[in-house]
Assembly symmetry: C2
Homo-oligomer: 336 residues x 2
C-alpha cells in the first residue's frame, strides 16, 4: 500500500508537498506538481480516506435510517436525499431499522460515534417519550413524523393538512361514507394518528358523522394488509363509497382487494392515497394521492443537517419545516 510518504520519497519532495498537490493547494511550483503527479501515477497512490477522516474530524458521510428501503416511499425519499447530499459533497449510508425503536436508537448511536457526520432519521418507532434520547449535540434531523416539542430539527410531512385535503377531495367528489385504512392508532404523533385527525376533521367540517366502524386499522402499512382490509370493507355491507389510505402502498393493496371483490373504482368506490409514489400514476386505475414534494423535503433535510455540521457546537435555534403539498387527482377518484 503506497502512502503519501512513498510518493514523497519517489518524487524527492516532502510529504507535505504531496499533500498540497493532492488537495489542489496553490503555492506549488508547476514543475514540482508534475513530478509529484507522475510519482503518484507510477506508484498507483490512493489517499487513505480513514486517515484523512481522523485528521479532519469529518467523515464526509451522513447516515440515513429508514424502516425499509424497498418501500416505494422510502426509496423515493432516499433517492432525493442521496442526490441532495451529493450536491454538498456528502455520501449517504443507508440503515434499515425495520421500524423498530431499538434499531432507530442504534443508528443514532452509530452516528454519535462519529461514524457519520450527521444522521437523517425517518422515525416510526420513537415518540415524545424519547425526546431526551434525541437531545444531542451531534447533527440530527428527524424526518417525516412529528415529535411534539422534540429538541431536534425536524422536516415534517404535511400530515394533518394533507389528510384533510385528501378526505375533502373525496367529499367533493360525492363520497359520503368514507373509510380510512391506517396503522395502529396509538397516539397522535405518528403518521396514522396525524392523518387520522385530518380525516376526522374533514368529515366533521362537512357535517358527516365519524364512524369508528369505517376506520380499519392494519398492523403494518403494506400492500398485503391493504388488500386484506379492502376485502373486508367491501364485503362488510357498510355501503362505503370512498377510501382514504394513509399511504400509497396501502392504497395499492386496497385497489387490488377491491378488484378481488369485483368492486369498480372509481364507479362504486373512490380511493385516494398519500405520498405520490412513482408507481401511482401508472396503476390502472391511476391513483389519486397527496404529493408532499419529496425533493423539497429532501433538500431541506440535508440543508438543516449541513448547517449543524458546519457550525459544530453552535446552539442554533431548533428548526422545523413542514412541506407544502398538493392533491393529485387521478382516475381513482374521477367523477362518475
Amino acid at each position: 500500500m503506497t502512502t503519501i510518504q512513498d510518493v514523497a520519497r519517489a518524487a524527492g519532495v516532502s510529504a507535505m508537498t504531496v499533500s498540497n498537490v493532492i488537495n489542489g493547494h496553490p503555492n506549488v511550483r508547476p514543475a514540482t506538481r508534475e513530478r509529484v503527479m507522475a510519482a503518484m501515477t507510477r506508484l498507483d497512490y490512493r489517499v487513505n480516506v480513514a486517515a484523512r477522516n481522523l485528521r479532519k474530524g469529518r467523515t464526509g458521510t451522513i447516515g440515513l435510517a429508514v424502516p425499509e428501503i424497498d418501500r416505494p416511499y422510502y426509496g423515493r425519499l432516499a433517492a432525493a436525499l442521496i442526490a441532495a447530499a451529493a450536491r454538498h459533497g456528502l455520501r449517504v449510508a443507508v440503515e434499515q431499522t425495520g421500524a423498530v425503536r431499538e434499531n432507530e436508537l442504534a443508528a443514532l448511536s452509530l452516528s454519535r460515534n462519529r461514524l457519520y457526520d450527521g444522521l437523517i432519521l425517518s422515525t416510526v418507532g420513537l415518540g415524545p417519550a424519547d425526546a431526551d434520547r434525541l437531545r444531542t449535540d451531534h447533527p440530527l434531523v428527524i424526518l417525516g413524523e412529528r415529535i411534539f416539542g422534540g429538541p431536534v430539527d425536524h422536516v415534517a410531512m404535511p400530515n394533518v393538512d394533507g389528510a384533510h385535503a385528501a378526505t375533502r377531495h373525496l367529499i367533493d367528489r360525492g363520497c359520503r361514507r368514507i373509510a380510512l385504512v391506517c396503522g395502529p392508532l396509538a397516539g397522535e404523533t405518528d403518521v396514522s394518528g396525524l392523518r387520522h385527525s385530518g380525516y376526522t376533521r374533514a368529515l366533521t367540517e362537512a357535517g358527516l358523522p365519524v364512524q369508528p366502524d369505517l376506520v380499519r386499522t392494519v398492523d403494518r402499512l403494506t400492500m398485503a394488509a391493504g388488500a386484506a382490509a379492502a376485502r373486508e370493507l367491501a364485503f362488510g355491507g357498510r355501503g362505503v363509497d370512498g377510501v382514504f389510505c394513509v399511504t400509497d402502498t396501502v392504497a395499492l393493496g386496497v385497489l387490488r382487494g377491491l378488484a378481488d371483490c369485483g368492486v369498480r373504482v372509481p364507479g362504486e368506490v373512490k380511493v385516494i392515497g398519500f405520498d405520490d409514489v412513482p408507481e401511482s400514476a401508472y396503476l390502472v386505475p391511476s391513483l389519486s394521492t397527496v404529493d408532499p414534494d419529496h425533493d423539497l423535503m429532501a433538500a431541506r433535510a440535508v440543508d438543516l443537517l449541513v448547517q449543524r455540521i458546519e457550525r459544530p457546537g453552535q446552539a442554533l435555534e431548533r428548526q422545523e419545516f413542514v412541506s407544502p403539498f398538493r392533491v393529485v387527482a387521478r382516475e381513482s377518484t374521477a367523477a362518475d
Copy 2:
C-alpha cells in the same frame, strides 16, 4: 470531545485498560471494569470510529452503487443487500450512478481509496471494454450484468434463460405474435441484449418467426417509456397477442399503456415482466414475471465480497454465480 485517555485518567487506569473494556476483552478485573464503565458514562464517552478504522485498516462499510435507488428492482435488491451485510456486521453506503459510466467508475475509485472495505457494483454502463479498469485488488463484486471474461467476481441474473422461460411461457399460453419491449440493443452484454437473445431463442425453438418490427426499443427502462411503447404497439395493427417486457417496471408502464388503448389483458394481449418486484403481485391485473431470487443473489454477493475482504491480497479464483429463477404465473398471462 472525550477520548479514551480522558476516560483512563478519570478512572485511574491506563488507556489500554479502557480499550480492553470497550472491546470486551477478558482479563479485566470486574472492579476495574466497573470503574471504567462508570467513567465512560459520566464523561459520555464515545469511540471515534474514524480512529479505529485507521488503526484497523477497515471501515466496516461497503459501498453499493446502483443506478437509482427508487426503482423498485434496485430498492428490493438494496434491502436484501443491506440485510445480508448487516449479518456480517457491515454497513452499506448507497451511491446513485444514474446508469452513467463515469459515475460507476467514480464509485469504484472511492472504494479503492478505502472509503469502503469493498464495493458491490450494479453496473449498467460498463462493458467488456472496461474489464481492465475493473482489475483491482480491492474487493469488488459486479452484480446483475454479465461482463464477459471480466476479471472480477460476479453475481449474475439468469438473463438469457429467464427471458427464454418468460417467452416460452407466453408461447405455452397460446401467444404467437410476441412483442419485446427492451432498452437499446448495443451489444450482448447488458440486460436488454441478453434478454433479447433469450426471447429470440425461445421463438426460434418454437418455430415462430423473429420479427424486428415486434421489438420495441426504448431509451430508458421506465414506466413512462413502457406506457408509450404499449400505446404504439397496440395501435400498430400488428396483431400482437403477447408482450415480454425486460423489466417489471417497464411492464407496469406497458399495462398502463394497453389500458389507455382499451386493450384487455390477458384477454387480447398477455404480458410478462422480469424481476418480480414487490408491486407486481398487487397490480390489476397482477403481473406474471420471472423471479430471480433477490435474497439469494444478495447473500451471495455479500458472501463473495466478505471472502475478499477477509483474505486481502489472496488471489482467489474469480467466482461467478448465476441465480436460479422461476416463472411466476399471474393474471396477466392467464389462459383466456
